[in-house]
Amino acid sequence: MTPRIDTEWLAELCDLPGVSGDEGRVRDRVWERVRPLAQEAWIDPLGSLVLTWNWRSGAGPRLVLAAHLDEVGLIVTGITPEGLLCFECVGGIDARILPGCPLRVGRRGIPGTVALPPIHLTPHDRRDRAADVEDLRIDIGADGTEQAQRVVSPGDRAVFASRAAPLGRLFKAKALDDRAGVVAIVAALEALPRPQLPLAVAFTVQEEIGTRGAAAVAESLGADAAVILETTTAADLPEVTGRRRVTRLGAGPALTAQDAGMIAGRSWTATLARAALEAGIPFQWKEAAAGGTDGARFQGEAAEVAVVSLPCRYLHAPCSAMDPGDLDAEARLLWVWLSRRPWKEADRA
């Protein structure tokens, strides 16, 4: 049975709010789905969801698959007397996308927007400058502090209010980074027979603020090898040429040789490439060393790391876009690769 990407479930996961530190609803939904497959499972003190099979059996190298549950977003830092909300960004966001951005605020997902003083009243020499986040406010329509306080508190998160939907032949949603990775792992697991070799799956938290969840999970698991399912930049836009594109949509998942935090284990990456070639699954190489993932944390705990990334346009923005064919290929690659365990030493050259 080949793996199948459930796009409805992907859309549902992407639409859920799960800014770093507030991943509960996403984690619950994922647990609901993978529960029938679990042998051992727990939620660690930071909130990461970890599943293991045969982890202490000693039957082979201990392999962990990881994807993160959290997304970038905003956090409310205060309420002004006019009932507007001060905020800061959680994770890396280009502040230029914020003015006029539709949001859902707090536990109840109250609609809001990022208010921008009208350009008509802005001095001419400031009209082409981006506003600082400190000068922006979220407007939920409250007429004063009291009305706002009834529905929102400092510490509440706000997420981009975009709905997952097709965009031409592509698929656009917020939080493709990294719900796509989560969905790829689950699709591969659901297509495989029950694991006989040591395997762990870690759905980590707080990746966007510095791979915090992975740090804790890596230390507690002590894996030998880790494969990170992430997303990566596709800058295949007009006027961007060659290597500066990093990856492009429609050419399959990307394998990483090196990113900002780690140099990939060449042997594990080689087995992934071999599996793709032999199964006729398209893939590409990520052509830049930028970006950090949970991989660095696992490598720090003496695991060999490989990263499989889904090319995505407009990461960390309300409408990231990916090619559904690439996600299909990614799930298939993972499934093929896992089916061929244990890998012989010769294959890892």
């Binding site: 280009d94 400058r129 007429d143 032949r169 800058a235 836009l237």
Partner: protein
């Protein structure tokens, strides 16, 4: 006075549905308008909707080759009645496709004053052979510097991403097709609304409230309620309307600046504090006094806005469109103008509509006769 005109009520949804089968109250109409098309020059989708809705509330419907739409409630009785117009521009800012690029991308230009600072990463919809969704593309961090991220790119450096393959895109969208921002509408707290296009669909909704409130009431004037076009690209639509209808008096309903951080307080009005009445040299004092009087009588909160010269609204163009029009300007306070995060308090829209309904009933031949001061001779008015 009270007995003659009675109180003007703001109809609730249930009443309308029960009374004469009309579908939309003001707020529902506003929501529909906010998702209809209609950037400057391509207002058809919005005026089609209004022609249907307003046609049920008036005696006559008219329009012209530019796309302007008006409806008329005729005065009761046989005496010559003054022509009065209430106008709100129905076009919204948007964009126009200039070039198709390979890979599903498009170049575009703004239609009207799109605030480029709020454009990155926004969803848009293009009105080609069919509605085509697209996203304003952004460059990822590795291709920008910290200094570069402080700068808003000019519009000719931006592209739209439709995700369509080249042949499908060529079949669906062509240069010259229009588009608009696809954000909202959303209901905020306390009766406030948020969404791209509240400038000036909120003004149009206020006129809808006026027409609803005037049902069953006789008028002493021939009242034309106008949804005019192409305001955002230089007040182009209102002139021909003025020349055609030749109103003695007119009130323009637009949106104005609401108080928000970063906007100088003395240039703004409070959202929720009622419409703002503009006063200044190019606005008719007598008409302003009439509006203020009606507001006081009905207990409608009315704020004041001072305009030293050009209000940058249709009022400026209409004043001289046809032999001198006594023109007034009411503004619904709006935050974050020309961004997709525009917000209004619907109570201000409703109050504007109610105020105009009351004012229309006061614009009788005697009042209108005082607009021109005849000094000699007894001939006909021009």
């Amino acid at each position: 006075m009270e007995e003659r005109r009675g109180c003007v009520r703001i109809p609730r949804h249930a009443e309308i549905g029960g009374e004469c089968g009309l579908a939309l109250d003001g707020r529902a109409l506003l929501r529909e308008l906010l998702t209809a098309g209609g950037p400057s020059g391509a207002e058809g989708a919005a005026t089609d909707l209004l022609r249907r809705e307003w046609g049920l509330l008036a005696d006559e419907v008219g329009g012209d080759a530019l796309g302007n739409l008006w409806v008329c409630r005729r005065a009761r009785g046989g005496r010559p009645a003054p022509t009065v117009a209430f106008a709100a521009h129905v076009d919204v800012i948007g964009l126009i496709v200039t070039r198709i690029l390979p890979g599903g991308f498009l170049r575009f230009a703004p239609v009207g004053g799109l605030d480029l600072r709020s454009l990155l990463s926004r969803e848009v919809v293009l009105f080609g052979r069919r509605p085509v969704p697209a996203v304003v593309a952004t460059l990822p961090p590795h291709l920008t510097t910290a200094e570069g991220r402080r700068r808003i790119p000019p519009v000719d450096e931006l592209v739209l991403d439709t995700g369509l393959p080249d042949d499908e895109l060529a079949g669906a969208v062509r240069p010259g097709d229009r588009g608009r921002l696809a954000v909202g509408p959303a209901d905020l707290l306390g009766g406030r609304l948020c969404g791209a296009g509240l400038d000036n669909r909120a003004g149009v909704a206020a006129l809808h409230e006026t027409l609803l409130a005037l049902r069953g009431h006789d008028l002493p004037c021939d009242l034309h309620v106008v949804a005019n076009v192409q305001e955002e690209v230089g007040l182009r639509g209102i002139g021909p309307v003025g020349r055609r209808l030749r109103p003695a008096a007119a009130v323009v309903v637009d949106v104005g600046f609401a108080a928000q951080p970063g906007a100088p307080a003395h240039l703004t009005a409070a959202a929720g504090g009622g419409p703002a009445l503009a006063v200044g040299p190019a606005l008719h004092e007598g008409l302003g006094a009439l509006l203020r009087g009606e507001a006081d009588r009905l207990g409608i909160p009315l704020q004041r806005e001072v305009v030293a010269g050009n209000s940058s609204t249709d009022a400026w163009a209409l004043q001289v469109a046809a032999g001198g029009v006594a023109v007034g300007l009411l503004s619904v306070p709006l935050r974050s103008m020309h961004t997709p995060g525009e917000t209004v308090d619907y109570a201000d829209v409703a109050h504007t509509g109610a105020l105009l309904a009351s004012a229309a009933q006061a614009m009788d031949p005697a009042w209108a006769g005082r607009l021109v001061t005849r000094l000699a001779g007894g001939g006909e008015e021009p």
